[in-house]
C-alpha cells in the first residue's frame, strides 16, 4: 500500500516493520514525531518518553542487551546528552538490533546550534545510515535492526530537518518479527571494566573493518552512471538537490551508509568520471574522506559550510546559474515568534522585566517556549545555552558575583520538562554548594515547545496510560531547599508573583519559585480541569470610553492585543482570559467577561 508520510512517520513505520519492540525518546524538533507516531503500533512495540536523551538511550540499550530490537530518537543536541552511553555501547556491540535516530537541524530552524552529527558516528564508530527521503527513511529503518545484529554494531540513523518534515510517497510492507532469545549474561561483552574494554576496543576495529567491506557492496550505497564528465558524491537530502541540479548530465555515487565510508566504492567511482563534486550539507564529512584517499574534488570551496542547502544554492555554486525572479522594493516586516495569547509565562516575565529594569538582576534561561521571554517587549532573559543549564549557570554566576563583591541577584528560569531533563542535577549543585540563585520552575503541565508531549510531571505516558506525577515542591525539598524557600504561585496573578519574588530575592540561599498553570494550547486532562476550573472560561475586553490608548497593555507583548495609532482592541478569537493586560491597565479600562 502507498501512503504519504513525513520522514518521521516513515521512520516510526520502518521501526515497526523492522521488528522493534522497544522505543524511547526525549522530544526535540525535528525528531519529535517519530515517537509520537509509535503508539499506533502499540500492540507490537512498547514506546515511552524518557526524561532525557541519555536515559532514553540507556533504556533502549538495556532492551538490546536483553535481546530485543530497540531504538531511541532525539534531536542533534540530544546526542551530546546521550554521548556517554553510546560511545561505550559501540565497544560492546548489541544483542537485539539497536538504532539511535538522530535528527540534525541544518539552518537552525528550531535549534541553538548546527552541529553535524555525522562526525559523532565517525568518532564513536557507529554504523551510519543517511536516508534522502521518506521512502528511504522507512526502508533504512526497517533494515537497520538486522544490520545492527549482523555487524554487532549500534546503528546511527542520521536524518535532517528536511527529511524529517518533508512528506513523500511510501510503499509500506509487513512487520518482520525477530525472535527474542532467553536471557543469558555476557559479562565479557557488556561489563566494560578496563580488562574487558581493552579487548572490545580491539575487536571494534575488526567490526569497523568488516563493515567497511560491507559498505562497498551493500544496498544502501548505489552508483547511477550517466554522463561521466562529472561524478557527484552525495548523501542524505543533498542527493535530491544534486540530482535536480545536474540531471542526467552527471553520474552519482549516492551514499546511504556513510560510516564506515565505502573506500573501494569511492575509488572505483572516481576512476570512471572526469571530475568529482561532493554535495553535502554542513561539514565536509564525505569530502575530507575523498581527499584523504588522494582524490581531487570540489565541495566546500563552493558550497557553504553552514545553513541548509537547496537546489538553488547547489545550482549557483556549481553552474553559476540563478533563477529569474520578481522583485519588489516594498519592505515586509518580520514575524518573530512570540509567547501565545494567554501563555502562563507572560505574567512571570512581565514581573521579571520590571524588576530587571529596576534592580538589574541577572536572568539565566533555558530551552523551551520561555526562551521567548528574551524577545521584545519583555526582554527578560539573558542566556540560553542548553537543556538544564539555567540553574547550574545561575548557581555559578551567583557564587562568582558574590565572591567578586557584586550585589547582582541571579534568577534562573526553567520549564517543568527541562527541569526533569537535567535541571534536577543543577538544583542539587546549587543547594549542595550553597549558591544563592532563585530557580523559577515554569510548570505549565506539559512539554510545550515541541508540541505537547507528556513528561514525568503530567500524570500520563506516551502510550496514554495514567502515571505517577513528580511532586516538584517535594522534590526540591528532598534535594535540600528549605521548605520556606519554596513558593508556588499562579503566574497569571501578578501580585502573587511579585510578592513571591520579593520574599525569595531577599534571601541569600537557594530558593525555588514554581509557577503552576497549564499551557493554553494544551488538551486539558480531567485533572487539569479539576485543578484549574477557570481555564478558558473568560476573556478580556477593552472599554473604549475608559481607554486612554496609553499602550501599557501592549507592553505585555500579548498577540491578542491589536494596537493601531488610534486604539487598542482585543481579538476575541485568541484571548482566553489570562487577565495580565487587565492587571497592568492604569485606567481600569479592561474588563473580564464570560466567554
Amino acid at each position: 500500500m502507498k501512503v504519504i508520510m513525513s520522514g518521521n512517520e516513515a521512520i516510526a513505520r520502518g521501526a515497526y516493520e523492522g521488528g522493534a519492540r522497544f522505543a524511547s525518546a526525549y522530544p526535540g524538533t525535528p525528531s519529535t514525531e517519530i515517537l509520537e507516531n509509535m503508539p499506533q503500533y502499540g500492540d507490537a512495540v512498547y514506546s515511552e518518553w524518557a526524561p532525557n536523551e541519555k536515559v532514553a538511550t540507556e533504556a533502549a540499550i538495556g532492551a538490546s542487551i536483553a535481546g530485543v530490537r530497540s531504538f531511541c530518537a532525539m534531536k542533534h543536541v540530544g546526542m551530546n546528552v546521550a554521548a556517554d552511553p553510546i560511545y561505550t555501547f559501540a565497544y560492546t556491540g548489541v544483542t537485539g538490533g539497536f538504532v539511535m535516530v538522530v535528527a540534525d537541524d541544518p539552518g537552525q530552524h528550531s535549534s541553538q546550534n548546527e552541529q553535524d552529527n555525522r562526525n559523532q558516528a565517525k568518532a564513536a564508530r557507529l554504523l551510519m545510515l543517511e536516508p534522502s527521503d521518506s521512502q528511504e527513511a522507512h526502508d533504512f529503518m526497517k533494515k537497520a535492526f538486522a544490520l545492527s545484529e549482523k555487524m554487532d554494531m549500534p546503528v546511527l540513523m542520521h536524518v535532517t530537518t528536511r527529511v524529517c518534515h518533508s512528506k513523500g510517497i511510501v510503499e509500506l510492507g509487513e512487520r518482520e518479527e525477530a525472535d527474542v532469545p532467553d536471557y543469558e549474561p555476557k559479562i565479557k561483552k557488556y561489563v566494560t571494566a578496563p580488562a574487558n574494554a581493552k579487548v572490545l576496543r580491539a575487536t571494534l576495529e575488526d567490526r569497523v573493518k568488516a563493515a567497511r567491506e560491507y559498505a562497498c557492496n551493500c544496498e544502501f550505497n548505489r552508483v547511477e552512471m550517466h554522463d561521466t564528465k562529472i561524478g557527484v558524491i552525495t548523501s542524505g537530502v543533498s542527493y535530491q538537490y544534486a540530482r535536480e541540479t545536474f540531471g542526467d548530465n552527471a553520474s552519482y555515487l549516492k551514499l546511504g551508509l556513510t560510516f564506515p565510508m565505502p573506500t573501494c566504492l569511492i575509488k572505483d567511482f572516481c576512476s570512471k568520471v572526469d571530475k568529482v563534486y561532493v554535495v553535502e550539507e554542513m561539514d565536509p564529512y564525505i569530502e575530507e574522506h575523498v581527499k584523504m584517499l588522494g582524490i581531487e574534488c570540489t565541495g566546500k570551496d563552493v558550497i557553504p559550510r553552514f545553513d541548509e542547502l537547496n537546489t538553488d544554492i547547489v545550482r549557483k555554486a556549481f553552474l553559476g546559474v540563478e533563477p529569474e525572479t520578481y522583485t519588489s522594493d516594498m519592505k515586509t516586516v518580520v514575524r518573530p515568534p512570540a509567547l501565545c495569547a494567554g501563555c502562563p509565562h507572560r505574567g512571570l516575565f512581565y514581573c521579571l522585566s520590571k524588576r530587571e529594569k529596576k534592580d538589574g538582576i541577572m536572568i539565566t534561561g533555558d530551552i523551551g517556549c520561555y526562551t521567548l521571554g528574551m524577545a521584545a517587549p519583555l526582554n527578560a532573559l539573558h542566556s540560553c545555552i542548553c537543556m538544564g543549564a539555567s540553574i547550574s549557570q545561575g548557581h555559578g554566576a551567583s557564587i562568582a558575583l558574590r565572591d567578586a563583591g557584586k550585589k547582582t541577584k541571579v534568577v534562573s528560569v526553567i520549564g517543568d520538562s527541562t527541569f526533569f531533563h537535567t535541571g534536577v542535577n543543577s538544583l542539587m549543585d546549587a543547594v549542595y554548594n550553597s549558591g544563592s540563585n532563585l530557580s523559577i520552575i515554569l510548570d505549565n503541565r506539559i512539554t510545550g515547545m515541541t508540541g505537547h508531549q507528556q513528561n514525568p510531571g503530567t500524570g500520563y505516558t506516551l502510550m496514554g496510560k495514567e502515571a505517577p506525577e513528580v511532586d516538584i515542591p517535594a522534590l526540591c525539598k528532598a534535594i535540600g531547599v528549605k521548605e520556606e524557600n519554596i513558593i508556588t504561585v499562579n503566574p497569571n496573578h501578578l501580585d502573587e508573583v511579585n510578592a513571591a519574588l520579593d520574599t525569595l530575592l531577599a534571601k541569600d540561599e537557594p530558593t525555588v519559585l514554581i509557577t503552576r498553570w497549564p499551557c493554553v494550547l494544551k488538551k486539558f486532562s480531567k485533572q487539569d480541569l479539576d485543578e484549574f476550573p477557570t481555564l478558558h472560561k473568560t476573556q478580556c475586553v477593552i472599554d473604549q470610553d475608559k481607554c486612554k490608548n496609553c499602550k501599557m497593555c501592549v507592553k505585555t507583548g500579548c498577540p491578542a492585543l491589536i494596537s493601531t495609532k488610534e486604539k487598542v482592541v482585543i481579538d476575541y478569537t485568541s484571548c482566553n482570559g489570562c487577565t495580565v493586560c487587565k492587571q497592568v491597565c492604569p485606567f481600569k479600562a479592561i474588563e473580564e467577561v464570560t466567554r
Partner: protein, 190 residues
C-alpha cells in the same frame, strides 16, 4: 516526462495551511503523480511565517520549491504574499486572501505594516484576491477559509480531473464534510 509543478501555501502559524495541503497532496497521489511536500515545524508555529511547499510530477527529487519556480502561490495573508514574491515563477499566479495579521513589531509601534500590498502585486503579477473568511462565513463557518483557498488553487492549477469531494470526505471530520465541500466549490468558482 511531465515537468514538475510547484505550489506554495504561505501564511501565519495557525491559519490552517496544513489541512489544505494534506487534501491537495492526497488527491495528487491518487491521480498518479509523484508528490513531495515540505513544511517546517517548531518555533514558526508561534505566530511566525509558515510555508507549505508542494511539488508534483512524474518524478520529484527535492521537496523544496526554489526561487522563481512556484506556478501558484496561495497566500493566506497579504504580507506573506509579498514576502514570497521572489519564489513565483515568471508568469505564475498568486491567490491572495485579502486579510492582514499584524506582526509583533507593528503592534509595538516598531514597524509599519506596508499599505497597498495587493494593488502593488497586481501591477507585477496575475493576482486573484478575495476575502476568503467572508466567503467561508457566508457558508456557515469562517474556519473553512482554508478550503475556499484550496478550491481557488485547484482551479488555478487546472487540476480538474481529481475527485476532490472524495478527498475532502477522506480527510475532514464527518460533521464538517458538507461545509468544506461547499467551501471548496465556492473557492473554485470565484
Amino acid at each position: 516526462m511531465s515537468e514538475v509543478k510547484n505550489i506554495l501555501l504561505v501564511g501565519v502559524g495557525g491559519q490552517g495551511t496544513i489541512l489544505a495541503s494534506k487534501i491537495l497532496t492526497s488527491g495528487l497521489m491518487k491521480a498518479g503523480y509523484d508528490v513531495k511536500m515540505s513544511e517546517i515545524h517548531g518555533m514558526s508555529q508561534r505566530g511566525g511565517s509558515v510555508s507549505t511547499q508542494v511539488r508534483y510530477g512524474d518524478k520529484v527529487y527535492s521537496p523544496i520549491v526554489g526561487k522563481g519556480s512556484a506556478d501558484v502561490i496561495v497566500a493566506f495573508e497579504e504580507m506573506e504574499a509579498l514576502r514570497w514574491l521572489d519564489h513565483l515563477k515568471i508568469g505564475g499566479k498568486m491567490v491572495i486572501n485579502d486579510h492582514q495579521i499584524q506582526p509583533v513589531p507593528v503592534n509595538l509601534g516598531m514597524a509599519e505594516y506596508p499599505e497597498g500590498i495587493i494593488e502593488h502585486l497586481k501591477e507585477k503579477v496575475d493576482v486573484l484576491s478575495f476575502k476568503a473568511a467572508e466567503v467561508a462565513t457566508e457558508l456557515g463557518n469562517p474556519k473553512a477559509m482554508n478550503i475556499v483557498l484550496l478550491g481557488a488553487l485547484v482551479k488555478a492549477m487546472g487540476l480538474d480531473d481529481i475527485d476532490w469531494d472524495a478527498e475532502i470526505e477522506a480527510n475532514v471530520k464527518a460533521k464538517f464534510v458538507e461545509l468544506n465541500k461547499k467551501a471548496f466549490h465556492a473557492g473554485y468558482n470565484l
